[in-house]
Subunit: 441 residues, 2 copies
């Protein structure tokens, strides 16, 4: 199966965008995609950016046809913790009908499904039912810092009627799923500096503040016991859930049982008054993605560490403002930090939350394509993850985005043993073809 061969090839590039040691791998992946798209007869260009390159490819555009921008990303998350992987993270390995590899589901499997759908259609008809513009980037996992400027600089070239992306999830195997909302994100790293060197905790303990303790105390101010964020103004502008959404999501079945089983946590957690899906899809959060300081090795080492850090990300919902959230968080942390330590705060990437009307004309076309591909009833959902570029498409290109995900809940995106079912690769090829037919009609 050529689609599978292509996916395996694409997966072998260790295109970890956040880690500069992998810059060559990331570029090699982009170059392989360029060659692939050119080989399909698409006019393809690799555009340099201050970071990883952007790929733009087009068929011959014909006046009167709808223009569809197909977006995907060829970069992947880091692989740590390496010891948790059952097979090497960049050697795609097939077990029980699934391909295990970093990037298998996020986003290379879904991206290659579209590329393969296009390749089949072009091979059969030497044409597509729409004007197609492909836009693949290599910085999604680090917040797409260079894509919005790229959109602005190439506004004419990228003009389109609608954007299509497969980078979201299906509610269950075989259930076509249309995602009409995403959470936004704001990231921040905080360092807590204390003494100029690690100190002997016996000699100095009791007379100097411990940066690890102080980092923990700062983190503890971020939430109440049920996870409600305690930063002043954090919930300003948060849109309440609509009744039809709550009902539609409740109809999807017992999300709590599924999440318990998927995650293996001892018990679920979250704000009272909201179901677990509502907590994940429509409520904002503050999460510690990493914390560290002091001795990390085996046994004990009785030091007061010179510094400690924590990495925060906030998931946002309409209409929170991502930059304002960082302002509020910084003010909160500085107000709560004692003068016995020094804070260093580094802002990371941000992206707005996204919400569209799933029953617009374009939304209905997407729902028909999903029904053709998967049969049965299409699930209408929001997702908790963030694709900040979706809001950028709205802002710069004035285009809505159709999110037609192919990831199953247990595909372990961002985690060890990430995987993608071969059946979803095949379904994705058919979905690409059905979607372009519907949009071209």
């Amino acid at each position: 199966m050529p689609a599978l061969d292509d996916l395996l090839t694409c997966l072998r590039f260790a295109s970890v965008s956040t880690d500069s040691k992998h810059n060559d791998d990331t570029r090699a992946c982009a170059q392989w995609l360029v060659a692939k798209l050119q080989g399909m007869g698409l006019t393809t260009q690799l555009h340099e950016t201050p970071g990883h390159p952007v790929i733009v490819a087009k068929n011959k555009h014909v006046a009167g046809r709808r223009t569809v921008l197909l977006y995907g990303h060829y970069d992947v998350q880091p692989v740590e913790p390496l010891s948790e992987w059952l097979s090497p993270p960049f050697e795609p390995t097939i077990r029980d009908g699934r391909i295990y590899c970093r990037g298998a589901t996020d986003n290379k499997g879904q991206l290659i499904a579209h590329v393969s759908g296009l390749a089949e259609t072009l091979a059969q008809h030497n044409d597509l039912p729409v004007n197609l513009t492909i836009l693949f980037e290599g910085e999604e996992e680090i917040g797409s810092p260079n894509l919005k400027p790229f959109l602005e600089a190439h506004r004419q070239e990228l003009a389109c009627d609608v954007v299509a992306i497969s980078d979201t999830g299906m509610v269950a195997e075989g259930v076509g799923t249309f995602t009409y909302g995403l959470r936004g994100i704001s990231c921040m790293e905080v360092k807590v500096h204390g003494p100029s060197i690690d100190l002997h905790s016996g000699i100095f303990g009791g007379a100097v503040a411990n940066p690890a303790t102080m980092a923990a105390r700062l983190v503890s101010t971020l939430h109440d016991a049920e996870g409600r964020v305690q930063i002043d103004g954090f919930y300003d502008g948060v849109q309440p859930l609509q009744e039809w959404e709550r009902k539609s999501w409740a109809d999807l079945g017992d999300g709590a049982a599924e999440t318990l089983a998927l995650t293996g946590v001892p018990a679920l957690f979250g704000e009272s008054g909201y179901t677990e899906r509502e907590c994940r899809w429509a409520r904002p959060t503050a999460e510690v993605n990493g914390i560290g300081g002091g001795y990390q090795g085996e046994g004990s080492k009785t030091v007061i560490p010179r510094e400690a850090f924590f990495k925060l990300s906030f998931r946002l919902v309409p209409d929170q403002n991502a930059e304002r959230i960082l302002d509020l968080a910084e003010a909160h942390l500085r107000a709560h930090a004692p003068r016995t330590v020094r804070l260093e705060i580094k802002r990371g990437h941000t992206g707005s939350a996204y919400l569209m009307n799933p029953n617009s004309a374009l939304g209905q076309a997407a729902q028909r394509a999903l029904k053709t591909t998967f049969g049965g009833k299409v699930a209408l959902i929001r997702e908790g993850g963030s694709i900040p570029i979706v809001q950028a498409f709205k802002d710069v290109l004035s285009a809505d985005t159709l999110l037609l995900g192919l990831a199953l809940p247990d595909c372990q995106a961002h985690a060890p043993n990430e995987n993608f079912p071969i059946a979803n690769l095949e379904a994705g090829i058919r979905l690409n073809q059905a979607l372009l037919r519907e949009l071209g009609a």
Copy 2:
């Protein structure tokens, strides 16, 4: 100078007792010491233990002489963070009259000072003024787990009138310092387990408890804002400071200014009502020696980590019970942990606090030896660090311990760029000779 050559040789052994990768280095250091002591004419034995070996060496004991047990340790702390060292941690390097190396001050510099003092005396007189028993161990930095059983098993062989140790500090350069009290220690490692794998913080954030956040929240329950420990019963039995101690310590000068300068912290910290020396020497603490969880690398990775950990050590004062403190801490942590995570608590080593009367006959002999060596007034202090074996000498051998330290406040024990002044090596040789003369008189 043969003493310096010996010290440099001894320092080159990377005898990190907590790290099993260094077991061969630790043993090699012990073997070198055995050869050295044998070469001086002492009857020397290397005793195997379940961990690192113990060395016992004796001169020919003569009835009617006082028996002095001289204790030291040849193991050292880990060297991390390696990047902070100005010269390689196991290549002793001399700069401005100080020897920089892991173990330079704690404890190899002080141990070799005694060995060299003995070597000189034996070379001159072929005799010592006391019955000497040397006891050197290789597990002090991991809490001496095998030394107390060793003492019990060799009670007769190690019987003595007094113990002498140089493993503590001098209040300032050239000021003879007698340490009559030490804090005890209890160690504990806590793991907070959540999901079975690292989760995508967008997909799952809001519905599952974050182990890094929960670890931080647990740490934050340990103290109030000024560092008073909030564990129920923690202060039970804590002996109040005596007036003569408070006065004597205040007479040592401005400890706060010195600690600020030494540590480089933005401001000091500690319980109100106590000076910084009192906080460090006579008040108990709870310190986080290490904390970790989630992404530790460059940039961001938006996960909810599967687990997080923190390593705690408690410094104890008379009459806290080290095992009971671990019971209380475990009960506190379990009571404060939400059911959305699972705690795994691993107890580490413990050691009692120590306090002797500095004006006993033996204490006065020690003070005279210090005065002979350094001149001026002898400082009477307690110390914040822990040498649990001192209490074991009291319990098993019924012997008090004379703590005659040679470390300066900026010798950076346990920290990068640990160092020891060559002048203190020379003073330590004279102190050994003066002490044995006083004790032999």
